[in-house]
């Protein structure tokens, strides 16, 4: 595979390159592992379910990767125009895929993209054929089973012209894993008039380091919606996905729902670059911080063309004096006909609301729980109701205030 040599070289040079944001992680501390057969046991099933993946149920498509091994990669028999493959297989099968590989993100962006290229630990390739609409969600699960593992899947999602797809990706770990590094590389190509709704649910624990790297390229009238949900503690997570709206009237939206607890360090951003006429972008970040959690929300919108619109919003609630939330909105106007705005509000629980609930005989802890859950409630326009109620259920069952 000669064509990959240039990426390997760039990656080798970037192996010590620190990320602009987030603490620097020693990637050599984590282990590599050979592929192996893993049976889907009850634990894997229940963990996957926690991140929205129903392995016992037939979906339009399912991908399951445990450590570095692809356990499931299938499309329901009645679905036409959808392809799901491990990325390395897809690269062997399709020469044309090379023109997508590392095009939405640079391989030498930082040491995490570099190691992902060098270790090359699978990931999924999903392609929806032109004008095909997949109404039922596709589900993908990336699962860490081995202690201390470095998992770095490389995902490529292509929604061809006029297609529509809804993907739920759940990333989680086995109960015996209390240390590891997950680097997920995701490249999205949303073609003309295509629509991608991508929901990612993360469920880690106090020992996990997480460094997802995401790039999205959206063509004319394409729509990309990302929902990111993190409700359980994590050691240290940093991500800053970037959407390039290269086509006219392209739209991008990032919704994040974060419950930062214990000693979690969460540094989450989004960058939307409005490159063509009539593009619009929005980022809505809802966070509750408690315990010693430190949560950063970086949002950047860059307006580069006429009739572009962008909006950033951060709503934070702090439950504990030792927790912190930092909102860093950045609006960059590079054209006179771009309209950009931001709104950030961070505060404590509304005492008036708390008192109201308690005056109905609801115990204080339950009352706080109701308000936190209500605050995080998705209520997001443009997202299928079935997904909203799924997220809502997740918030209800996961958060213990």
């Amino acid at each position: 595979m000669n064509w990959r040599e240039k990426y390997r070289e760039l990656a080798l040079q970037a192996l010590t390159k620190k990320s602009i944001y987030g603490s620097d992680i020693d990637i050599n501390k984590f282990i590599d592992k050979k592929e192996e057969e893993v049976e889907i046991n009850e634990e894997i099933k229940s963990r996957a379910l926690e991140v929205g993946i129903e392995l016992s149920q037939e979906k339009s498509g399912t991908y399951l990767q445990i450590d570095h091994s692809v356990i499931l990669s299938k499309v329901a028999s009645n679905i036409k125009g959808l392809e799901i493959l491990p990325t390395d297989e897809a690269l062997l099968k399709y020469d044309w895929l090379r023109s997508y590989y590392w095009k939405a993100i640079s391989v030498d962006q930082d040491k995490y993209t570099a190691i992902a290229e060098l270790k090359s630990t699978k990931g999924y390739f999903i392609r929806v054929a032109p004008y095909v609409r997949i109404t039922q969600p596709i589900q993908a699960c990336l699962y860490i089973h081995s202690q201390g593992l470095l998992q770095a899947p490389h995902n490529i999602i292509i929604a061809e012209e006029g297609s529509e797809v809804n993907i739920i990706t759940g990333c989680t770990i086995g109960s015996k894993v209390n240390y590891g590094l997950h680097i997920g590389i995701s490249e999205f190509y949303v073609k003309k008039n295509a629509k991608v709704i991508f929901t990612m649910i993360h469920s880690w624990n106090e020992g996990m380091y997480v460094r997802p790297r995401t790039g999205v390229i959206i063509e004319d009238d394409g729509v990309f919606v990302s929902n990111y949900i993190l409700l359980k503690p994590v050691r240290d997570l940093q991500a800053y996905p970037t959407a390039y709206l290269i086509g006219k009237n392209a739209k991008a939206k990032f919704n994040s729902i974060i419950y930062g607890s214990q000693d979690s360090i969460i540094d989450l951003g989004s960058r939307i670059i409005l490159m063509n006429e009539g593009c619009s972008g929005e980022s809505i970040f809802k966070v509750v911080a408690t315990g010693n959690a430190k949560v950063y929300n970086r949002g950047q919108i860059i307006g580069q063309n006429r009739n572009t619109k962008g909006h950033l919003e951060c709503r934070g609630m702090i439950l504990c004096p030792t927790a912190s939330i930092v909102a860093i909105p950045e609006l960059v106007a590079e054209h006179s006909e771009t309209e950009l705005s931001h709104e950030a509000a961070i505060g404590k629980l509304q005492e008036e609301q708390l008192n109201y609930l308690m005056a109905r005989g609801i115990p204080p802890d339950d009352a706080i729980g109701i308000l936190v859950k209500g605050f995080l409630d998705p209520g997001l326009p443009g997202i299928p109701e079935i997904l909203q109620s799924e997220i809502r259920r997740k918030i209800l069952t996961t958060i213990r205030v």
Partner: protein
């Protein structure tokens, strides 16, 4: 003597003795003495900012109202230092004048909570539907609405009543249940209240500016407040016509003048 006092004690639901209350260090309630017998309905009336709502929220246990002197006895128990939640559990229910909107909490779930049920495991919402119909909120339209989100004035008040009906409190405090409500809504509120109170032999403390709601919820005693004090107490028949003809200011002035003359 002590026997009579004991008997009286059994009959009393709420007893407030020489109560003084501070908010942010400022005294907003002074020398409040008030008692309500079981099954009795009393009205608290007076101007805006005369202390009516402060009194209600003090009884309900809102922490910003600090009792600096005096006691609140409820159902034979000193509740002066109990939390809002504990008081609610003992049977104090309040319909708020302007309840806050709660995103993410459905009206039906709040009503379930108020009834002491856990909505997260609840399957049967029939009782909620029944209660909503009592206050003329069509269940199919309101069950799944987020609590008070986008509710009109009248809808909020009816939702407050529905919550109280679910709670079945021993003492029902109605804080301006009639304010910001149109005539039709007032009629609905008044009739549902009347029916509920008669059915449950309820003890009620109703706070209002206007006599209209009192046609439905007829008090045996009326207390008039001014500047954080109870300045006048009398029967419904005695005070209401006077308020109608004189208004609060003139009535209070007249009373104070009479008192002064008596002292001289």
């Amino acid at each position: 003597m002590s026997y009579i006092k004991l008997l009286k004690g059994f009959k009393l639901l709420l007893e407030i003795n020489n109560l003084h209350v501070l908010v942010e260090g400022r005294e907003i309630l002074k020398e409040i003495n008030l008692s309500i017998e079981k099954g009795e309905i009393i009205a608290i009336m007076g101007h805006n900012a005369s202390g009516k709502t402060s009194l209600a929220l003090t009884i309900a246990g809102f922490p910003q109202y600090v009792v600096s002197k005096g006691k609140i006895i409820f159902d034979g128990r000193d509740i002066t230092n109990l939390s809002i939640y504990e008081r609610a559990r003992l049977g104090i229910g309040i319909a708020f004048q302007s309840p806050p909107a709660i995103h993410g909490l459905k009206l039906k779930d709040m009503i379930a909570f108020a009834a002491g049920k856990n909505p997260w495991i609840l399957r049967d919402y029939n009782f909620v539907e029944e209660i909503l119909r009592k206050v003329n909120l069509e269940p199919s339209l309101y069950m799944n609405r987020e609590l008070n989100v986008g509710f009109s004035g009248g809808e909020r008040k009816r939702s407050e009543l529905a919550q109280l009906f679910a709670m079945k409190p021993k003492l029902m405090i109605l804080d301006e249940i009639d304010s910001g409500v149109d005539i039709d809504s007032l009629k609905i509120l008044g009739n549902s209240l009347k029916e509920y109170i008669e059915e449950n032999n309820c003890t009620v403390m109703i706070i209002t500016h206007h006599r209209h709601i009192l046609q439905y919820v007829k008090p045996s005693k009326v207390y008039i407040m001014s500047k954080g004090r109870i300045v006048l107490t009398g029967s419904y028949e005695e005070l209401i016509p006077k308020i109608e003809t004189l208004g609060y200011d003139a009535l209070i002035k007249e009373v104070l003048k009479n008192e002064l003359e008596r002292k001289v």
